[in-house]
């Protein structure tokens, strides 16, 4: 499993001087590259969270064994059923909820906790900064899989536990990111001004520093959400992800893998859903980065 611990965002994102405004066609292109993936993402979120409330969709669990293994196109089961008689389409939607929740939650925890730690580590000097950095280094050097496995084995499978386990990837990553960005911003004029005017440090961090970091962190979060959703799939392969019969794209793929030769559709549909979502997240993240670094 790889983590986009992307310091690339910071290492070279020192905003260069903006070149002259791009031509009109370029502007349209830029807008499209932003709004298309954003729209796609919103559509996916809406489909997963809203459509079961609005349209009639078969339940994702509790399928009768009588309906096992139906092919796509069977009335009532647009994409067919799995080995337990559960509707695949419905499992895609409900599974999407879980996967999206995992993605969002791990990144939010990362931003909140990791961002805070990183800002403090970057802004303070001396012992506090050094200690925080060493602690972060420990978590980065420690194979995150071991942490994730240990949490899943120790606490048992479950969506919440998966989120905690995957947060061990995101928190150190955000912390590193936030720290590097803070280092870069620390000596800027507006920061020095705030310090000189006697603003307490915590206010500086929260109200001056954080808002400037947020765009970068948000962009990173978009990429990280995609990775987190994929990592949930990896945990499911090791039987430590979201537990069946509940659905998640990850555990649908892991279960479908068992019979990939004979029923590839069980793997294909959740893989496609994953692909589209991760693509949207990536493209949106890229577009936002392009936007913000051009300012």
């Amino acid at each position: 499993m790889t983590t986009p611990v992307s310091e690339a965002a910071t290492a070279v994102a020192a905003p260069g001087l903006a070149v002259s405004a791009p031509p009109a066609r370029g502007r349209l292109r830029q807008s499209l590259s932003l709004y298309l993936p954003a729209g796609l993402l919103l559509a996916i979120i809406a489909a997963c969270f809203l459509s079961p409330l609005v349209a009639t969709v078969s339940p994702p669990t509790g399928g009768s064994v009588l309906n096992a293994g139906l092919p796509a196109g069977t009335p009532g089961f647009p994409l067919g059923t799995d080995a337990n008689g559960n509707d695949i389409f419905s499992r895609l939607l409900y599974g999407g909820r879980v996967s999206l929740e995992v993605g969002a939650a791990t990144q939010l925890i990362g931003i909140a906790l990791g961002g805070l730690i990183g800002m403090i580590a970057g802004y303070s000097r001396g012992l506090l900064a050094a200690v925080l950095m060493r602690v972060l280094d420990v978590f980065i050097a420690f194979p995150s899989l071991v942490l994730a496995l240990a949490i899943a084995e120790g606490l048992g499978p479950g969506e919440l536990h998966v989120i905690w386990a995957l947060s061990f990837y995101s928190v150190p990553a955000f912390a590193r990111l936030a720290r590097s960005a803070t280092l870069r911003l620390r000596d800027q004029n507006f920061m020095l001004a705030a310090a000189l005017s006697g603003t307490p440090r915590w206010r500086i961090v929260l109200f001056h520093l954080a808002p400037n970091l947020l765009p970068q962190l948000m962009t990173f979060a978009l990429l990280g959400a995609g990775v987190a959703i994929i990592q949930e799939g990896a945990l499911s392969f090791l039987s430590l992800g979201v537990p069946p019969p509940g659905a998640s794209w990850g555990n649908m793929i892991a279960a479908g893998m068992q019979t990939m030769s004979v029923r590839p559709s069980l793997v294909l549909f959740p893989c496609l859903a994953l692909l589209i979502t991760v693509a949207a997240l990536n493209l949106l993240g890229d577009a936002l980065r392009a936007r913000w670094s051009a300012r």
Binding site: N84, G156, P245, Q258, S261
Partner: protein, 539 residues
Amino acid sequence: MAAVLLSAAAVAACSGKATGSGGAAAGTTAGGTSTGAGASATVGPQNSATPQPGGSFTMLEETGLTGAWPTGLDPATDGNGSANQSYLDAIYGNLFELGANGQTIDDLATGYTITPDAKTVAIHLRPGVTFSDGTPFNAAAVAFNFKRDIASAVGDKPNWPVSSITTSGNYDVLIHLTQPYAPIINTFHDSNVNWIVSPTALQKMGENAFKLAPVGAGPFTVVSDTVSSELALKKNPHYWAPGEPYLNSLTFKSVASDEAALETMQAGGVQGYEGMQTPQLASAFGQQFNVLDVPSTSPYVIQLNTAIAPFNNLNAREAVYYATDVNLIDQRLFGNLHPVTEGFTAPNGLFYEQDVPGYRTYDLAKAKAAVKAAGGVTVDLMATQSSVTQTVLEALQTMWQAAGMTVNIHVDQLANVIQQFQGNKWQASLQTAGAFDPAAGLGVNFRFGSKSVFSGVHDPKLDTLFAAATSTLDTAKRQQLYDQAAAYISQNAYAPFLFPVNGWNIAAKNVTGPGLTTLLPASAVRPEILWAQVGFTGQ
């Protein structure tokens, strides 16, 4: 010529003592003296195609089931002993084996004698055999092993009521029991006493080195051992059976899943896979390979914890019986492959009883009524991780919910399951119970005895029935007692049974071997593969 002699001997033995399909040759009639009650047949090929000598065979085993041996391959310290039986069989051979009709077949032992008071069992060893390190295979060595195994702490140690082990001469080992113990010979098939290590090698290498490069008297010797990944073996030139083993080399490789095994076999270079468990893949395998259906002798049972709520209430337990449509699960999930059972015995095992009188079968109306009478049932149903248990749990959840119960299911790793049993807070658990001989190994006592941590039933009456069936050698009486036990369990609705699970053993089309391409009964979950007789046919 050898084949003709061997098959003649086999026919002679089979027409002799075996009575019925229950493998009654494993026991003796009450009261009489019995000598050489163990069949004197030597191991012979069980199908018509005789293998050619030579060839390299690579066998796949699934990681997580049979393909892991983190504690090494010494029978007295291998915690995965029953799962690792293929490796142990290949390296150590067996004293006795289970034949196609359930009869006991001689291998490194040539028979047994049980004294009239049934308290001493003499195991006769095959003379002139050596371990692969050249040291003699004799009574002293075997006695050393027995003592070591009895004292071992692993799950497949023998549970004999033994007082001492002595030897008589060079080739007889005497097991002195404190009371008659009917399943004793059958316990050889699922406990570690069947595998004899070379005491000399053990002492020379020390336990830690020995378990990684073991020495036995079996058909193959160890070339290299990469723990839980690959075990490479080569033919033992000093193996006692002339002409065997047919194969020059045998390599075991661990593979991640049934699907990965399918692809690996299709890619070529491997010739077999044992313990395939995904029913949907059976036909995919069948297109290119030999698929052998191997039923276990250990049926699935839904254990109910009668010590605590909700299943300390008879109505709740009855609701489970009535709400479970076993035939439908068998039909839809497994294509009607498995024989539905109502007790802890299975068609390929001893003392099979197909219909238990008074057994409560599927009846949704009665289920709903029982749930109402119990004042509602909320249950947490667990199982040990496997691809099969997950789907079965989901089906059960649906069915029980239809009867009005609130059901929560979860599948856990073994360590967590053990913890839950030990904490005694578990409510219902899908496990397997029974064995080829119900009194042996992971037998009924494990799941139904009042003293077992892993049992949900604490009923002295049941204990008495089991104890009686264990201590009489009269097979007719044992059948009666087990029938009574099954009826008693059914009457009290202690635990509904499903069916013994199948596995499939897969082999390339030009392979032949007992247990691999022809059926042998399973001592519990899987039959042994007689590696000495596995080989390639000329095709």
